[in-house]
């Protein structure tokens, strides 16, 4: 992780194009275009949200090495999307209004010429039903993004939520 921070981030057109890719992803999610969103993932993609455990500063880990809130492949993401497209995904019926705010985007080269590591912060606002109270999810993201012709594909979405005790009845949205 330290190595990443001291490395010089990618600048110019590549950086802008990767940032746009993240923004387009947010737009697809917030407009509930889940099939469009799924098409932004490579066939070998992984989508992971680790379980966070509240621990002392010197503990070996705080994000569980094997505990996951999401541990998805493209196949299981496809299942989730097809579920949302039925009339019976009650957790999202009526759908949550979400807004993904993506900031602090930094892109780094990797050992593969056509793949970049893109770090970002993501704040998701979620409003459900007629509840006056909204849910906020704050996450740190570390994505692996691959060149695909003129565009990009997610190879790995890794998002770590900042809360150890998550203040939401479910995670029926994507971060």
């Amino acid at each position: 992780m330290t190595a990443t921070i001291t490395r010089v981030p990618v600048r110019g057109e590549v950086r802008e194009s990767l940032r746009d890719f993240l923004y387009l992803e947010s737009l697809a999610l917030d407009e509930h275009r889940f099939s469009d969103w799924l098409a932004m993932f490579a066939d070998d993609a992984h989508y992971e949200i680790p379980v966070r455990v509240n621990r002392e500063k010197l503990a070996e880990w705080e994000l569980s090495p094997n505990g996951r809130i999401f541990s998805d492949t493209k196949e299981t993401l496809d299942l989730r999307v097809r579920r949302l497209e039925t009339d019976f995904a009650w957790a999202e019926q009526p759908p949550s209004r979400t807004r993904h705010y993506v900031t602090n985007v930094l892109a780094f080269e990797t050992d593969l010429a056509n793949e970049f590591l893109v770090r970002s912060n993501c704040l998701v606002y979620r409003s459900r039903g007629s509840d006056a109270e909204a849910t906020w999810y704050s996450a740190q993201r570390r994505d692996r993004i691959r060149r695909d012709g003129d565009g990009w594909l997610f190879v790995h979405r890794w998002a770590a939520l900042d809360q150890a005790m998550i203040n939401a009845r479910n995670m029926s949205i994507f971060v």
């Binding site: 455990v53 094997n66 809130i69 998550i166």
Partner: protein, 436 residues
């Protein structure tokens, strides 16, 4: 504002006759007075789940858990014994452990520096000679101990020093718990730390659902039936058995799919060895069970069932254990674990865990819909117009208890019935009335 016609005492008194007759007061699912009495009478008396032994395998390992409003350190001491103590310094009440888990031989308070062994014994007091002179007897000021007992890797605690033994409390339900706890001859273990989240839900709605609510599956989880991800259909889903332990509140639903292979979803080597740690009677029951969804009263639940991302295939059999910890009349802290067979390969354990996260856990496609409904049930159950009304628990009221059932408790068929719930709420009532 609608006036309540019944006080809590009168409501509970009326429930003595109404629950066995199949009527449960709506108000018990969202009411401040009921909640306060539950904290004292139910969670102050019952055996409550704390941790699984595989979460604290080595001396010094600890986790921090709760019973009612008590934060409790559950630690394995230097002798290998499990010890549970209130997470509060005896000197001025500061919280001892601020992390959820870790390993420590001693705990040191961050206020005035009192030091305790992980067993709870006070061993270090700053200015012991100079300040206290000889007035402080360290043995008198250990952390406040919580009585514990174990079954099959489950560590339970009770706040009631006079509570009956855990064995008596479980009352034969151990027979069914083994389906989750003895998934292989070497037993079961926790795969990863639990997920936890908060929800505006009353704990009883969750416990009841996991005491065998086969009725909700095809509707709440209709997407799964629709897309072919559920190994039973709307037309066969009622099949199976419901078993409860009368007077204890524990119950389990055993869903059966005709033609499904015994232990479908387990790897072959596990299917051939699983019988080693089970009785023939358990094998008879478990081998014909597709889904087993059960609860230990008051708030610990389990589910085991096969799940495949390819409709029609057996997939893997995942198992979840969950604790619905009440923190208010309309709020829980939810703890969710995945239990895997100790003797399975790492690949199988990972596959079972992945199936668990896809189906249950906070992002689980089944869990999501349950919590949406339960949040709404909780809110509506607080409606002033509903305060003196009941819910019908009339299914299976005339059901005949099977006389050739191989396991303990009272078993009925089909799986879709309110029988387990009537027993659960009648037991709850006896705690609430202090008649246990």
């Amino acid at each position: 504002m609608t006036q309540t016609t019944l006080g809590v005492d009168a409501l509970l008194d009326r429930a003595r006759t109404s629950i066995p007759a199949g009527r449960v007061p709506i108000r018990i699912f969202n009411d401040q007075e009921i909640f306060e009495r539950e904290q004292r009478n139910v969670f102050g008396k019952a055996w409550c789940f704390l941790a699984h032994t595989s979460e604290i395998p080595k001396p010094g390992d600890y986790v921090v858990r709760s019973i009612a409003n008590n934060s409790i350190i559950v630690a394995r001491d230097e002798h290998g014994d499990v010890r549970a103590n209130l997470n509060m310094c005896r000197h001025r009440g500061n919280q001892m452990c601020k992390s959820e888990m870790g390993n420590a031989s001693h705990f040191r308070c961050s206020y005035h520096g009192w030091v305790y062994k992980n067993s709870g014994e006070l061993v270090g007091v700053p200015y012991f000679q100079e300040g206290y002179e000889t007035k402080l007897n360290r043995q008198e000021w250990s952390l406040i101990n919580v009585r514990t007992d174990q079954y099959g890797g489950l560590i339970f605690g009770t706040l009631d020093p006079d509570a009956p033994s855990l064995e008596e409390y479980l009352g034969g339900f151990q027979f069914y718990l083994d389906m989750y706890l003895k998934q292989s001859p070497g037993g079961s273990e926790v795969f990863a730390p639990p997920e936890h989240w908060t929800a505006k839900v009353n704990w009883k709605i969750c416990t009841e659902n996991f005491t065998g609510d086969g009725y909700h599956t095809a509707v709440t989880h209709q997407f799964a039936v629709e897309l072919g991800y559920f190994p039973s259909s709307g037309s066969t889903h009622y099949q199976g058995w419901a078993v409860n332990i009368p007077g204890k509140g524990h119950g389990i639903g055993l869903g059966h799919t005709p033609g499904l292979a015994p232990f479908a979803g387990f790897p072959d080597d596990l299917v051939t060895t699983i019988g080693r740690s089970l009785t023939p009677e358990q094998m008879e029951v478990f081998s014909k069970t597709r889904t087993a969804v059960g609860s230990v009263f008051p708030n610990l639940s389990f589910l085991i069932q096969p799940f495949s991302v390819k409709p029609g295939e057996a997939g893997v059999r995942f198992c979840t254990m969950r604790l619905w910890h009440p923190v208010g009349p309309d709020q829980i802290e939810m703890w969710s674990w995945c239990l895997v067979p100790v003797d399975a390969t790492d690949e199988y354990k990972q596959a079972a865990y992945d199936a668990y996260t896809l189906a249950f856990g906070q992002a689980g496609t089944f869990e999501q819909d349950d919590f949406e409904n339960w949040t709404n049930v909780t809110r509506q159950a607080g409606s002033s117009l509903a305060r003196d009304a009941d819910f019908p628990y009339l299914m299976g009221l005339d059901g005949k208890v099977l006389d050739d059932w191989p396991g303990p408790g009272e078993a009925v068929s089909p799986y879709v019935t309110d029988r387990n719930f009537r027993n659960q709420w009648a037991t709850w009532l006896s705690y609430m009335l202090d008649e246990v």
